[in-house]
Amino acid sequence: MEKLDLTHYSFKQLMELDGCTRCGECVKWCPTYTEDGHEPLQPAEKIRRMKSFIASQYGLWARLFGPKFPPDKAWEEYSRGVYGCTLCGRCHVVCPIRIETRPLWIAMREHLVQLGHYPEVFDTLRDTVTTSHNISGDPNEDRLIWSGNLERIPEGVKGKEKAEIVFFVGCVPSFYPQVYAIPQSMVQVMEQAEVDFATLGGEEWCCGFPLIVAGMGKSVEGLASHNVEVVRKIGAKRLVTACPSCFHAWKVEYPRIMGEPLGFQVQHSTELLADLISKGRVRLGQFPHLVTYHDPCDLGRSSGIYEPPRRIIEAIPGVTFIEMAQNRGNALCCGGGGDLEMVDRDLVSALAARKIGMALDTGAEIIVTACPQCERTMSAAVRAQKKRVRVLDLADMVWTAMERGEESIHH
């Protein structure tokens, strides 16, 4: 067996492995370990195991008496811990030395993919995404199926040759009916606000984020270059997406993959909506509900966007907003991230149930979020638990408030 290839890690990440104090703060805050209780899931334990693998090959003992390759069983246990994670990044927030855990876990996944110790289901995901260009395996031409039952399809939906903004819908809102309302609301809001936008239709390919977090980032290059090329062709100045994972892929991963600036801005839909509201370009009606907000991990902790969603909520007349006990950087993950759904659905359900419990503690009637995957995950938990609370995306809430505004004018 060849020696471990440490080029999956950066110099800093290898240093971070040695910097871990095993203080256990990350363990206390880890949502998956709190639910599952299996030691390999502990963030600090993943670091300890990787350190021991490195030591078995590069440690003093290994250099004096020869390296040993860790047995398959050790890799399997380790793999379970590394893939049994939502990549929520809360461990980074509470780490006394602020180890950048999320990129570290992804580097570990890339390493495991190279070693062949990863869940087989990701091979299927890779094949599906690279051949169908979406995560569901549906024909990619059907990407606009969500627009089918709109009363009037806004001009930008069917695509334009040139537009100021490209609205990148994302795979989940395109192919999962539970969250069709997100792109439906977004395009109607943009139309009302007279935003010059276009969607990419079947030319939109999966952003590749699910493969990046699976440790299969190398398979994303083709997807990234295709997507960037079609957006450039439209001459858009800005790309807007309602999916925090797509947002993160476009904002952070694509410039790295392409090795150059994209040449246009990347915005999350909450930033655009907050802007439109602040400029008075949308008219909001009453929305008299008690609302709490769930910070999606990829939008909050990973991308630093905490305030625009809150500005939107507070701008809607009639809304009473209440924060959950853990919010912003400390927000509890809903369980929908890190491709965990493909590895351990039960764990995802348990995490979502805990999240719903925390939201219900506020007394809110509506849990609002800004992520299609979070909405799907939490809605499923609400249905499973038969709780009397609604889960809505912010775009949906804004459009509903706009419709009510229009109705009140007509009345």
């Binding site: 910097g19 095993r22 003093l60 509470v94 006394p96 602020r98 904002k251």
Partner: protein, 284 residues
């Protein structure tokens, strides 16, 4: 047998092992990518990192670097916010050891360099050359006490209350035992010295507020205080040197790597973020 000769031979060897261990660890880190690239030799990566470090040191960011090193690397405000008792334990042990190390360094410089070589005999050197000076006696006792308090909290949490988030492994116990041995042997050596020299001690020796009362109580015992002091001091010094040599190969290393990582991560987080700098509002 010259105990100082034994100490210095051992200490120099320990320092060589420590430096070799650091180089060894660095060689592992250098297998990782630097600046997203892996098409560089280890030497080129090291040169790149050195340039980046020097560029920060000799820039307007040096203030931010020092602040991050002290605040994030040593004080750990995140841990303070999360868990006060754990922070207190860590601060006592880490801070106490750093404090004692600085005091020892001042004493060494005064006794072995400034006074004999440069013939500098001023207030600073006279304080740190005299173990029974008010400040030296008091500060050394205080440092030792702080470390002991920290270790007691650690041991109570880990072995008695078991209020832990992770299971205890050998590496966790090892570090506690080693530190306890260093502190205990240091105190015992000091008690033996005070017992031996009790009649000639200046009044300021009472500022050794822990060792002095113990020495006062035990000095009449028929024990070879001089020999005991020499052996205990030798053990204390040799064991401390051995632990220094062991740092790069043990959990002790987190004190170095963790401080650097905390500093680097703070400085990086203060850089204008990729996420925000490109987002502008109001151009739709």
């Amino acid at each position: 047998m010259d105990t100082m000769l034994i100490f210095w031979v051992f200490h120099i060897m320990a320092m060589i092992v420590f430096l070799a261990g650091m180089g060894f660890t660095l060689s592992v880190w250098l297998q990782g990518t630097v600046n997203g690239r892996n098409d560089m030799s280890a030497g080129q990566k090291l040169a790149f990192l050195m340039r980046a470090t020097l560029a920060t040191l000799f820039s307007a960011r040096v203030g931010a670097l020092l602040r991050a090193l002290i605040w994030d690397g040593a004080i750990h405000p995140t841990l303070f916010r999360q868990h006060k008792l754990r922070w207190a334990a860590h601060f006592c042990v880490f801070g106490g050891i750093m404090f004692l190390t600085i005091l020892s360094a001042f004493s060494f410089v005064s006794v072995k360099i400034m006074i004999p070589i440069f013939k500098v005999d001023n207030l600073f050197t006279s304080i740190f050359a005299n173990k029974d000076h008010v400040l030296t006696a008091f500060l050394n006792e205080l440092g030792g006490l702080v470390v002991m308090v920290g270790l007691i909290i650690v041991m109570l949490r880990r072995y008695v209350i078991r209020a832990l988030d992770m299971s205890t492994r050998f590496v966790d116990t090892e570090i506690i035992v080693f530190l306890a041995l260093i502190i205990a042997s240091g105190y015992l050596a000091e008690i033996c010295r005070l017992s031996l020299e009790f009649e000639e001690l200046p009044p300021t020796a009472t500022y050794a507020f822990l060792a002095y009362p113990v020495a006062q109580a035990v000095r009449t015992a028929a024990l070879p205080w001089g020999a005991l002091h020499d052996w205990l001091f030798l053990f204390h010094a040799l064991f401390s040197s051995a632990v220094i040599a062991y740092i790069p190969f043990s959990k002790f290393f987190h004190a170095i790597a963790g401080s650097i990582i905390a500093t680097v991560n703070r400085l990086q987080s203060e850089e204008p973020s990729l996420t925000h700098k490109e987002v502008t509002y109001g151009e739709a």
